[in-house]
Amino acid sequence: MATVMQRIVKPKTQAAKRGLEVRAPKLEENDKVAMFIKGGHTSETITQVLKELYLLKKPNAITFKRKNIMRPFDDQSSIEFFSQKNDSSLFLFGSHSKKRPNNLVLGRLYDHHVLDMVELGVTHFRSMQDFPTEKIAMGTKPCLVFEGEAFEQDHKHRRLKNMLIDFFRGVKANNVRLQGLEHVLQFTALDGKVMVRSYKVLLKKSGSRTPRVELSEIGPALDLEVRRTRLASDDLYKKACKKPKKGKPKKVKNVKTDVFGAKMGRVHMERQDFSKLQTRKMKGLKRQAPSDKENAKKAKTESSEPSAQET
């Protein structure tokens, strides 16, 4: 990677170099990793919420084992430090205080600086354990459903929607197994609250190719109220959303698709040597080519000479 070798101090080991390459900015970025951070004081609800959301996010998530006394809205420096150390750009911070009971701070970073932060109060929570149903496999890419006019009209909610998509969209995938679509996350903005529900998908027969969808709730279920926000200015946000220019796709030579959708390829052959062509074997035709005969003779004499030298 060019950017790694542009460092003044070169990495000393191959492992260190590889590590830096993983972290280096890329055209096609890695999946965003989320940090789950417990604040100085957390209630049972918040601890459980963090734990269960961590499970939902798991392959791309880091959970912090210890308490971290910080206030993201007053001082972002420790969040940014953690982001740098863990190479992660999403965070969910949970705390509990008298002034802000059951508090979650959902945020994301751009270039290791805080871009957006939204404070969400958990007003209602039902754990996964409260739903005695079969759960989904870990790391399943969820289907996201957003409902409610607020997500379209209100600026704060629009940004929150974008953050939630960013946070929960799972691993980037080109190919998806149809049977693997088994998780739905629903976000509803209604009545001044944002309701998060999580369902398992059950595919039923419908008489056609497309199945009939039935859902069973698996939890966690959260009711959230939006408290403080710290959103990026439009200028910074635009800068962060900038898309790299894509280079021209490599021209595929000699392959065409015809009108019927069949793939046609042109193959360039070298001129065939007919003298080496194997025809039907017959006893009568069995004879060595003159050049072959000479070679055979040479080989014989050569093999005999070294032995003579040895003796």
């Binding site: 003044i8 420096s77 750009s89 006019e149 049977q179 509803t188 959303c241």
Partner: protein, 352 residues
């Protein structure tokens, strides 16, 4: 023909009645982003139904929207990958911010520029090389490399060489110098790429230095003192080194008034003519985004400084440093204190 159609329709109907429908009616078609498996439903929600039975209403909404999403997904082209039916998802349409800025293209090195100018193409070299002595294929470089001259146990002393010179040491030294030169070139390329000052090569050791090189070496040696050569004694009959270092020239304090006037007027002219264009919106945006990024940076820096400052005041007792540190801390404490007071006030009110 009509009979066949009738039969088919009746079959369809009977099948449809057996299973629940997959069709969903919505006033406004929800926006789908299949790349992210995302549905955004803008239809107004019914508050009455919601208040009557919250969970059931949410579930039915989720089901309908998921059904719509699945209907669209099942229409995508499928392919078989290891016994599983997979769907190829299209590109995502939702714009999400990046994690890190777009990497800049690495500017070409000095050599790459030269090679391009001359049309020199890169050749792929094989990793393994045939070692004639060991009769074995070995890596071109690194551990146990082929044709490793540093592993020679004997070296012929060249005819014209000093017999007391250590040929092994000479070889090692030459190698080290080549490595150092390469490193220097690498750093210069980086410096050029980042538009920082390119370090000069300085004096390279040469076997037979020219007169100019000796002069330069002398000049540098004389200047390499703590006082930049101010007190270095001159040799008798020593001449000033030529073409090394620039001397600033000043105009006389009193003298040519005409020239002085001209110069001052010139400055005013330049100031008037070259007014930079100020795009206010752009400038404001830049300031805002800078401010957003700055406070956290500053805070971090300040935090480090405060830590460092803790040491000296204790030793010195009270000094300029201590005062500064306190002032810095005081600011932070003020902000926090204000909030703290508010909290306390609330607490008191409740207890009463």
């Amino acid at each position: 023909m009509a009979t066949v159609e009738d039969v088919l329709e009746s079959v369809n109907r009977s099948q449809a009645s057996k299973y629940k429908t997959i069709e969903v009616q919505k006033d406004v078609e929800p926006q789908l982003d299949l790349g992210n498996l995302l549905t955004v439903d803008q239809n107004p929600l019914e508050l009455k139904k919601f208040r009557a039975d919250k969970e059931a209403y949410l579930k039915s909404q989720a089901r309908d929207n998921t059904q719509l999403l699945f209907n669209a997904i099942w229409k995508l082209p499928t392919e078989r990958v290891e016994e599983a039916i997979c769907v190829k998802l299209p590109e995502t349409t939702t714009v999400l911010p990046r994690e890190k800025p777009i990497p800049k293209v690495k500017p070409p090195t000095r050599w790459e520029q030269y090679a391009q100018l001359k049309g020199i193409q890169k050749r792929k070299k094989g990793r393994m090389v045939w070692d004639e002595e060991i009769k074995e294929w070995r890596p071109r470089w690194g551990y146990k490399r082929a044709n490793d001259e540093t592993k020679d146990w004997v070296i012929e002393v060249p005819g014209n060489a000093d017999p007391n010179e250590d040929q092994f040491e000479k070889r090692m030294k030459a190698k080290k110098e080549r490595v150092a030169k390469n490193e220097l070139q690498r750093l210069r390329n980086i410096a050029r790429a980042t538009r920082s000052k390119v370090p000069g090569v300085g004096l390279t050791p040469t076997e037979k230095p020219s007169k100019e090189e000796v002069g330069l070496a002398l000049h540098l040696a004389k200047k390499s003192t703590a006082s930049l050569g101010k007190f270095t004694e001159k040799l008798p009959k020593e001449k000033e080194a030529k073409h090394v270092g620039k001397k600033r020239k000043f105009e006389p304090a009193i003298g040519d008034f005409k020239k002085e006037k001209e110069q001052q007027l010139n400055i005013i002219d330049v100031m008037e003519n070259k007014k930079p264009k100020l795009d206010i919106t752009k400038a404001v945006n830049r300031v805002i985004s800078q401010q957003e990024q700055e406070p956290s940076d500053e805070r971090r820096k300040r935090g480090v400084k405060v830590k460092n400052r803790r040491g000296p005041p204790r030793k010195k007792g009270s000094g300029g440093f201590g005062k500064k540190g306190k002032a810095g801390k005081g600011k932070g404490a003020k902000g926090m204190g204000g909030k703290g007071k508010g909290k306390m006030g609330k607490g008191k009110g409740k207890s009463r």
